[in-house]
Symmetry: C2
Subunit: 375 residues, 2 copies
């Protein structure tokens, strides 16, 4: 992965240049480059390195030699994309799913159909597909490919990766949506792979994820970053989980709408923003408090992860431009001085495609780390 | 490091067994083992592997072939130990330091004197010393060897590693005390290096650290884990940093003693515990709330890091046996259900020697990762 990424970022590049940048031995590089050429990912160009010393053939990458299939599954949608080695989407399809069809077997069938249709429609041979990455909400055991618990889909202990694998005959990697989203957002060329990118998502739920030097930080059970139930006030509001003062009781969609309901019925957070903009003080109060706790969440993620980039995203932020600025403005009240200036707070760049692109990147990463050979 | 640790944990062991366990190539193992033998860390035994196939010479480790110097520096003490490859202390010395002597130049001189005296007193040649690891409180730029800020020692931007290096002529690694403490506590043979160990310390300050698969997680600026100023109540008590509701305002020594002072002067947290045990309700109230916020801290560290082990330590915990049990008992009120049973809450095993042992381990790790050759 490292060497492929190096060739991708600096192409065309010589083996000697790769050795210099990676500090790996010429022997190791020769072996890995040989494999990459054999599998058609890398090709020798007819250009030669300039500069002094022996002339060396430059290596280039064939970005569409293989494609990763990225899939986002959520409460009522499936989004599938075929993604090349540059992270560009070659083809994509979105489908709305009935709640009844969101069972593992039928959903796996839908995914398999969509992948084959996409390939056919774009004249792409499925033999180019290196694997399928799936991002979905919930607690996911990625090593086992199991959806341990997903409130959104109503699943418990479903071995979904195996089910999709059986339908498609391709390796499948399953992971939590925010984890792959963070992976997708963290990649801006090779440089960003040196960094620590945290992602915070605020919407129907609240969560975070961390990517360290291009790898998802999982913790012991792949549930690192589940900050929705971290405590931000031990004497605070009662949460559905039975505890008091969980972060999500202040900023998740439903919590805000429930509180709004004490004044009048409000059906969406967007409507709440409209009411605020129409001058309703109580709507401002609810949103303002949510932004305060969002700033607390950013500060607490900064204290624990010490990232250099934080992506602040989720429906609450992405659908309401003023929310990002409000949270950003409140940060100074919560960030401890030694952390000031250590990170950049950013919006999502990939938007609604970030889970799909991140999932495609994850399966590519895992396949390349295993040397592309079938286990 | 990996191979040395493998030999250490499974000694005596054959090259083939190492290859099986590490999944590294025979060539790489041959080269690294060759280096380790050349430097005297590993020796071939006269035993042979049993089992089928060609008989292979078994490798053993010479645990005292090299020694790491571990140093803890704090407000008024210096603790130095010579630590072998098994993590055992071969010799140690503790010295109380006047506040006036705690300046970088004079403190470096004291450390150098103590190391040379220890070597002489135990008939050890300093040529065995692989390097010096120093753990101290504050914000430390470990890559640069600089104490960026240490309130405890009153230092700002002191290049302390270079100063000690100049006095001793040995490579010096400087790091934050809690980070090396977590590294020290995380090592229980080779197995624990697969895990995620978090450490939370409560005493004059509050902080945490994370060790992932045997490596300190540093974040972008080596200040990951500084949870003392994470917000646990945005409307809470005013903190010396100017913010409200920082974790440390509820559980740091001084915060508790200040509050106690509203009733009567109390000079130490131990005295506060005595008063509680003598039946003073207000003393119980202060300690009980500190234990509540300590449980919140544990829960929030669990949510973000998802560790499999948490070491709960610091003077508040280590000096008062009832504190650990109180925090442990309150945890059920704060741990979100999916995290229940994912981690073990433990006391410190190394106690007052943990920073010293961890610092010795860190310098060993860094020296071995660079292949033992001088840069």
């Amino acid at each position: 992965m490292l060497i492929l990424e190096m060739i991708r970022a600096h192409r065309p590049v010589s083996r000697a240049e790769i050795a210099k940048r990676t500090r790996m031995s010429a022997t190791s590089i020769g072996r890995i480059v040989g494999d990459l050429i054999e599998f058609g990912l890398v090709k020798e160009t007819d250009q030669f390195s300039s500069g002094v010393g022996r002339k060396a053939t430059l290596l280039d990458i064939d970005v569409q030699s293989i494609l990763s299939v990225g899939v986002e599954v959520d409460r009522n949608i499936v989004l599938i994309g075929l993604v090349d080695l540059d992270g560009n989407i070659v083809a994509e399809q979105r489908r709305t799913i009935d709640r009844q069809l969101a069972q593992p077997e039928s959903l796996a069938g839908i995914i398999a159909d969509m992948v084959m249709q996409l390939a056919e429609a774009h004249g792409l041979s499925p033999s180019k597909f290196i694997g399928v990455g799936i991002g979905m909400p919930g607690i996911i055991d990625s090593a086992e490919g199991t959806a341990v618990f997903s409130a959104q889909l109503g699943w418990k202990n479903e071995r979904f990766a195996s089910i999709v694998e059986a339908k498609l005959g391709l390796p499948v990697v399953l992971d939590n949506d925010l984890k792959v989203k963070a992976l997708g957002e963290s990649s801006e060329g090779a440089m960003s792979d040196q960094g620590k990118t945290a992602l915070i998502s605020i919407g129907s739920g609240v969560g975070s994820a961390l990517v360290v030097e291009g790898k998802i930080y999982r913790g012991a059970n792949n549930i690192a970053g589940e900050i929705g139930h971290s405590t931000v006030d031990p004497n605070g509001k009662l949460c559905e989980c039975g505890k008091r003062g969980c972060l999500q009781t202040y900023i998740a969609d439903l919590a805000m709408l429930q509180e709004a309901g004490q004044i009048k019925p409000v059906s969406s957070v967007n409507e709440l923003f409209s009411l605020m903009n129409a001058g309703e003080a109580w709507a401002f109060n609810i949103i303002d408090r949510a932004c305060t706790y969002a700033a607390v969440a950013v500060s607490n993620v900064v204290c624990t992860y010490n990232p250099d980039v934080i992506i602040l995203t989720g429906d609450f932020i992405d659908s309401n431009p003023e929310a990002f600025d409000a949270v950003s403005g409140k940060l100074k009240d919560f960030i401890w001085e030694p952390f000031a200036g250590t990170f950049e707070l950013k919006r999502s760049k990939l938007g609604k495609k970030s889970v799909m692109i991140g999932a495609a990147k994850l399966v590519l990463q895992q396949r390349l780390d295993r040397g592309l050979r079938n286990d």
